[in-house]
Symmetry: C2
Subunit: 403 residues, 2 copies
């Protein structure tokens, strides 16, 4: 028998699919093979199968006001690295504005030679750039600061998505207006009812920030910033201002609400970290995860995501004994800069209790910390930037719990 | 004034956005900034903006029967490399079957040690692989064999899409059943009413063929093969059997309808090319393209796609004078193996008639031919595998035509 591929998965797995003697019984011909199916263009803009109707965004709690809160990506039901557009997470403060792209303007002003108003058509005429980047809310996984919340991965880690973003480089637009040497920061503002603003240090973002108008090949979704948003690869989600309307070149940070009252990290000693921009290296196993039930013993491909706001993932380690022993996982393809990287690890479940964890290491050498190490460094009140190792406990029954 | 980025686009472009003196007149505050917007989860599975309602799939002609025909991707309205799932092209022979994934089975039989039935859950448990690949119908652009059809790019080139596909390697599944050394080909069959079948040479596909269950991160769309399909990177679309139900290991091609009556290329001398698997290197400018109207003179970023079924795109050349002179275009990022590569070229339109063309060169050195060269080699009746250079004519009025 010819061995067809390297890596003798079949012989080592203990995995057995259903066997059926092909000679003894004809293959069932299902009803859908016996009748014509649905016509073309039904509908013209396609939708998922009705059998996938549970794969949707969900909120952890009811919003205080209808537009204020978040909805999470169903990470456990996704594959590869890309998040399909209909499932990209939401985080809003005043709901989703319905913006007429013909009326929308982007103004760039402040410490510039020539302030400019750009229409969307203007922006579409510039040379474009497309890159795959993750987007993560700095509040993601905040549920786990005080220990396992019991929640499933959609609600613990679902403020996380990854798209191919297309837009014009911020540096290209700043060339148009001419930036004064005294300008060290920008203020970016959104056009929603909350008019979110963040100050950003120019030197740290200029080489890669984009004014984006497309995600995964099509124009931005309304809830993700249509018609334009800022993308600052690797930085906290809130800096990636949606419904971008204004960029002001300034000397120093403007100290807006969103970088003083909010999005600062309160430490044990009463001081707060401010302008914590980069999302630290992080990973999470999405399959199996809390809420799943393993029904058979044998082989499973433990699967999840790893990512870092500082660059590429160098390595992901996986443990099945709660962090006592670690083994490197496989990374799918070449790890991409500041994008979600899919990892997988082989596991044979023999029915004992297991505690599944993953640990990311990025190209700077930074290692994802345990929750205990994170709390020791920052206390439990910093709210944002929780990137501790996540544990999923597999019971002897096969039930998987966030515990 | 500090120059912020290399490549003095701003000074050389002749491009002028609307100027507004920021000090003299306050920025307009639009109504959507003054009111709360739509709530979260409206809807839970997101949809495009209503302002993008023209960005849909379209058919070139009415289908002979409701399920038999194709619908094309709106290439001129897309960005980057990825095709969003709702716009991936369709090509069906008996409509879209509604397949219950819990009932669906994949059988692998024939010259094997142990024939197997796999459930979808079985397939999801194997190690997975995710790769970005283009998919192209071999009949794509067949409208142009006899000269410019006058049709827009959606209808000339729209049987073309590109997704991140996730699935299990075909070789992994063949390891499970054990393939006899006498098996040189596979027969793949679909579960739709047409039960499409194609024979494929095992040695040529084994290193990269996938049994796929996800596109761009979520489960396959019904019209793209839910719950599973074959992906044979770089090969004609019809070999990427949708709604995959059966793989049979055989000694020689089975000579099915889809590789004899159809999908063969009739040459001038009455002979036909058969088993022409790889899609040849090809490119097309999508912006500007037929149906567009340029309203101002000045700078435009000519933009389009290049791809090759034999590997990576090495270079794309662009001409604005109908192929008399050529200049290399910029490629976005590193060209990926057998995926759509976005290219752009700077162009200053001074109002004269222009004839815009692109020409792809792949890593094998193959150069995309002119229509004349293609016809000289194959005549006009080979129907499939048309990859000639496409011309878009810009009139002095700014109207762009397929002429």
């Amino acid at each position: 028998m010819r061995k067809l591929s390297a890596g003798a998965l079949a012989s080592g797995l203990g995995f057995r699919a259903q066997a059926q003697e092909a000679a003894s019984e004809p293959l069932t011909v299902e009803p859908w093979t016996l009748t014509p199916g649905a016509p073309l263009l039904s509908p013209p803009y396609g939708m998922p199968s009705s059998f996938e109707s549970n794969v949707i965004r969900r909120s952890a709690r009811a919003a205080a006001m209808p537009g204020s809160g978040s909805s999470m990506t169903p990470l456990a039901d996704l594959f590869g690295s890309i998040t399909p557009n209909g499932l990209v997470y939401e985080r809003h403060h005043a709901g989703v504005p319905k913006i007429d792209p013909a009326q929308h303007r982007l103004v760039i002003h402040g410490l510039v030679r020539q302030p400019r108003l750009f229409t969307i058509d203007d922006l579409l005429r510039f040379p474009s750039e497309s890159r795959v980047y993750f987007l993560e809310c700095s509040g993601n996984t905040g549920s786990e600061w005080n220990g396992p919340s019991g929640l499933p991965v959609q609600l613990t880690h679902g403020l996380l998505s990854c798209c191919e973003w297309t837009g014009v480089r911020l540096s290209t637009l700043l060339d148009e207006v001419g930036v004064d040497t005294s300008a060290q920061w920008i203020l970016a503002e959104g056009a929603d009812g909350a008019a979110m603003t963040r100050s950003l240090p120019l030197a740290r973002i200029l080489d890669r920030a984009l004014v984006v108008y497309a995600q995964n090949g099509e124009r931005l979704r309304p809830e993700n910033g249509y018609p334009i948003r800022l993308i600052v690869p690797g930085f906290e989600g809130n800096t990636n201002i949606k419904w971008l309307r204004r960029i002001k070149l300034v000397q120093a940070p403007e100290m807006t609400r969103e970088e003083t009252s909010k999005y600062t990290n309160l430490l044990r000693d009463g001081k707060a970290r401010q302008f914590v921009f980069e999302m630290d290296a992080k990973s999470v196993i999405t399959r199996p995860s809390a809420g799943h039930r393993l029904t058979t013993h044998g082989y499973y491909a433990i699967s999840g995501y790893a990512w870092s706001g500082r660059g590429r993932i160098r390595r992901v380690d996986v443990s099945t004994d709660g962090g006592t022993t670690w083994h490197p996982a496989r990374l799918n393809g070449a790890a991409q800069d500041r994008a979600l990287t899919r990892f997988e690890a082989d596991w044979h479940w023999n029915g004992s209790v297991a505690n599944l964890q993953s640990r990311a290491v990025d190209e700077t050498g930074y290692i994802q910390p345990t929750r205990a190490a994170l709390v020791a460094a920052r206390g439990v009140n910093s709210q944002y930037h929780y990137n501790g190792i996540q544990n999923w406990r597999v019971e002897a029954t096969g039930e998987v719990r966030n515990a």
